[in-house]
Symmetry: C2
């Protein structure tokens, strides 16, 4: 007999009673109402820029604060009274803490990372999934969640230009995991037997060719998959920071001569650093000629498929063997919701080679076609499509076109403002809403480039810690620079003028 | 000049106006109230088992239904009127669709997968994160989200028994990704230079040793990391399906003799199939003797750390080099929220070897310590700790002990009920809330074991598609079986009797 000292029945009954109280729907009703009111008030304030755009706080102090709530409740008598009223009051207090200390992406002064201020209504659909825990792994675990995901895969895939019923896809937890999974499939397709035998017997060794300024997760994927980052080769770029098809052709020809198998070419639509869109049709031509898998990281720029005005940026995307597109970037749903597409439907199960008898049921073999777990790293997976499905079902595709049109146009406008100012230097001509630049007041013109770069980073840190604007750092030719991603459609010229003024003032403070 | 045909100012102004309307906080307020009411009513009904426990639906029809909402809104005039009233009404309709078609884990007749009916209040905290899009990657992107995560890492790590300030950890999107990341770290630590050079030059080849009935994601990790699944070796189990330390010792000795490097030993706390807890102290002794990395997949069983009664099951867990623990399993928060721990703090950055200049800011080098993206596959990551932080801050640790105590005791009780019935055969003595069994009515006793196994799966399918109970299939020695995970604290003896009665009735229907 296994050691087993169960609780006595009385203790067990008390435990069950306490859990039942915590599950009381009345507490959810009351607390939920309070939370929704607090959220609506919060958004109204944030949209008017009434607080800080970044609630900066020293990490150690911040962790201690977060921990203090947990520790207090861990003490005898520290738990809340289990009545709906008391629970709702305590939740309101904790909610205010989260909101007052958290990030405020919806402030139009936020021009930071490629993380949008998502539509709060999309978050509401996501919340329905979270609160009821709609998940999937196999179809039967979440028929509706699985169906919504498949419906959105087909909807976006057709927008890319893939031919109905010939492609496949799935949603996964973020762009890095998505790029990893797509490159895993490319590896498995390119190298026969690698799943079982591993990479240690491969000849060449095999390589991956990438846009030279791809997101860091491409190099990570190569490191993770056992290919080795020394076998990740960067393809040359043109003057607009786009992958050069001629350079690609030469590189692939040379690799062929050297007998080095190419697992995939990774193009960008757009690149993280400058928002540059690779010439996909020309690249697809080169890849077709060399019979190499073309993967396109369209995490940010996939959204251009939604806009008549900007569609030309992703011309040729439908020719990619695999595509990654983050709905939680420019489709403005909350993180994480990343789509992976395979042009050829036959590759949909090529990432993994296994099954689990307790999951995949031989009594209903046809159903496995709809089991998400066979395609994704995740076993249990959130219903990540709910936000996008809900938003699209409310507003239709025009909302997404509007978001792209407004933010890309504002990015363009910012570029013009920087170009027209004597003390700002745009470092590229933006193709979308990512703008890299430097502030160089007259007093700094005589400094070394290195020093000017250091000052950009110091300047940025002062600005973000002040809570007045949020932008991010970059490097151009090894020298520090500033980077703005105009992802909030509420951000207009006035805010951008304010940003430039703030940078000017802080630069003076920094110099003095 | 880059091709650029911007929208005229009038079109742009209209687009901006439409987006601004969709962002109206008043719409969130009104829709949010409606959704909370619908959710509270839903939980009240589900807890009383008023509907189906599984809303089964044919995949193709279900996908078509999901798609129809999107297609309708894509037609001219299909979008909702952008007033708070109209938006709230449409959202209420879509919410009812999600709730009536979705999974109902909170129905006490749900004894299916290792996916709990989470505390709806935890979901509410998660929702705050979703609706405002609290994310992280670097500390400055989400100081509060990062701090809450670190506070919970420390809280749970100390519960495991790790020594304060000597261990490290992070949260990631699910158990599969967590096991992958921990084994990636083990691979990088075991094989010098593998990140850069890849697996193709390694000698041995290197192996991973695993609990023979580990979750399928362990084999997947080995396939993904370029190690090759033929180099995943299964360690023998004892009569209670636990990893046998003597067999492990022999296997490691033999591998040493053969000159095959061992990347890691993967133990289970508990195993997916039977819920068997490996003898961690003995296994840690063997691993220490052989100087091999011990990884413990405690996705399900980590929660035993919270219970005085069941703590003995995870005795020795603090000796593991890495541990995976899903809060979205037995801590009853919504998916996904998985903790990864490293006993030795020095391993916290060993999974990856790179940086991205636009992320990791040289002007504040000390801050990188708190950047989540250096430790996780995800770059942008949800504030996955909010649910657990909120729940703990409300109810303290006793709630989690209660959940474990109640569900483990009910699992035990179910085993006794099966053992006492003439027509049921429990296939192991459960150590927790996972129970594997068969229904064998007199009429089936003369059938071949294979046929009895097929009937278990057919029986289960009839039961789940009827919506009356939800349990899952398994296989024991290649023969079909039934598996119940009692994860809902509201599930009691009466429900389990009902399950047995339902199986009996459907078996009669199946036979006739």
């Amino acid at each position: 007999m296994i050691e087993h000292l169960p609780l006595d029945q009385t203790s067990l009954n008390s435990a069950r009673q306490r859990v039942t109280q915590a599950l009381d729907p009345a507490a959810l009703r009351e607390a939920g109402m309070r939370v929704m009111e607090l959220l609506a008030d919060h958004f109204a304030r944030v949209q008017r820029s009434e607080g800080n755009v970044l609630n900066w706080s020293d990490p150690k102090a911040c962790i201690a604060d977060a921990r203090s709530y947990v520790d207090r409740a861990s003490e005898p008598g520290g738990a809340v009274d289990a009545t709906p009223d008391a629970i709702a009051a305590r939740i309101a207090e904790l909610t205010q803490q989260i909101l007052s200390r958290g990030q405020t992406l919806h402030d139009p002064r936020y021009v930071g990372h490629q993380v949008p201020p998502p539509m709060p209504l999309a978050g509401l659909f996501d919340a329905i999934g979270s609160i009821t825990n709609q998940v999937m792994a196999i179809y039967e675990m979440g028929p509706w969640a699985s169906a919504v995901e498949e419906a959105m895969v087909r909807t976006l895939g057709e927008r890319i230009g893939y031919v109905k019923d010939t492609f496949a896809g799935f949603i996964t937890s973020g762009g890095s995991l998505a790029n990893l999974t797509a490159l895993l499939t490319a590896r498995n397709v390119a190298i026969k037997g690698v799943w079982r035998e591993g990479m240690h017997g491969t000849k060449g060794p095999p390589v991956v060719v990438t846009h030279a300024e791809a997101h860091y997760c491409v190099a990570r994927a190569v490191g993770m998959l056992g290919i080795g980052t020394s076998n990740l080769l960067k393809c040359g770029l043109d003057a607009q920071h786009r992958m050069d098809p001629v350079a690609l052709d030469e590189l692939l020809t040379q690799l062929n001569r050297e007998g080095r198998p190419v697992i995939a070419v990774v193009a960008a639509a757009c690149s993280t650093k400058y928002g540059a869109f690779d010439p996909l049709n020309e690249i697809a031509d080169v890849c077709a000629r060399h019979r190499v898998w073309l993967h396109v990281d369209a995490a940010h720029g996939g959204a251009a498929c939604m806009s008549v005005t900007h569609r030309h940026l992703v011309e040729g995307l439908h020719r990619a063997d695999s595509v990654v597109w983050d709905a939680h970037k420019m489709l403005h749903v909350p993180a994480l919701c990343t789509f992976v597409f395979y042009r050829n439907r036959e590759h949909r199960f090529a990432a993994f080679e296994q099954d689990a008898p307790y999951l995949f049921d031989s009594s209903a073999p046809g159903i496995a076609e709809f089991d998400s777990g066979l395609k994704t790293v995740e076993c249990t997976k959130r219903a990540e499509a709910f936000g996008l499905w809900g938003l699209w079902s409310l507003f239709g595709p025009r909302l997404f076109a509007d978001i792209v049109d407004v933010t890309f146009a504002t990015g363009r406008r910012f570029f013009q403002m920087l170009r027209d100012a004597e003390d700002f230097v745009p470092l590229h001509e933006p193709q979308c809403n990512i703008v890299v630049f430097r502030h160089v007041p007259r007093a700094w013109e005589s400094l070394s480039p290195q020093r000017v770069g250091e000052l950009q980073l110091a300047l940025r840190r002062r600005v973000i810690e002040s809570g007045r604007y949020y932008l991010v750092p970059s490097k151009v030719d090894g020298i520090g620079a500033l980077r703005a991603v105009i992802t909030n459609p509420l951000t207009d010229e006035e805010h951008l003028e304010g940003l430039m003024e703030t940078l000017r003032k802080e630069a003076v403070n920094l110099s003095s």
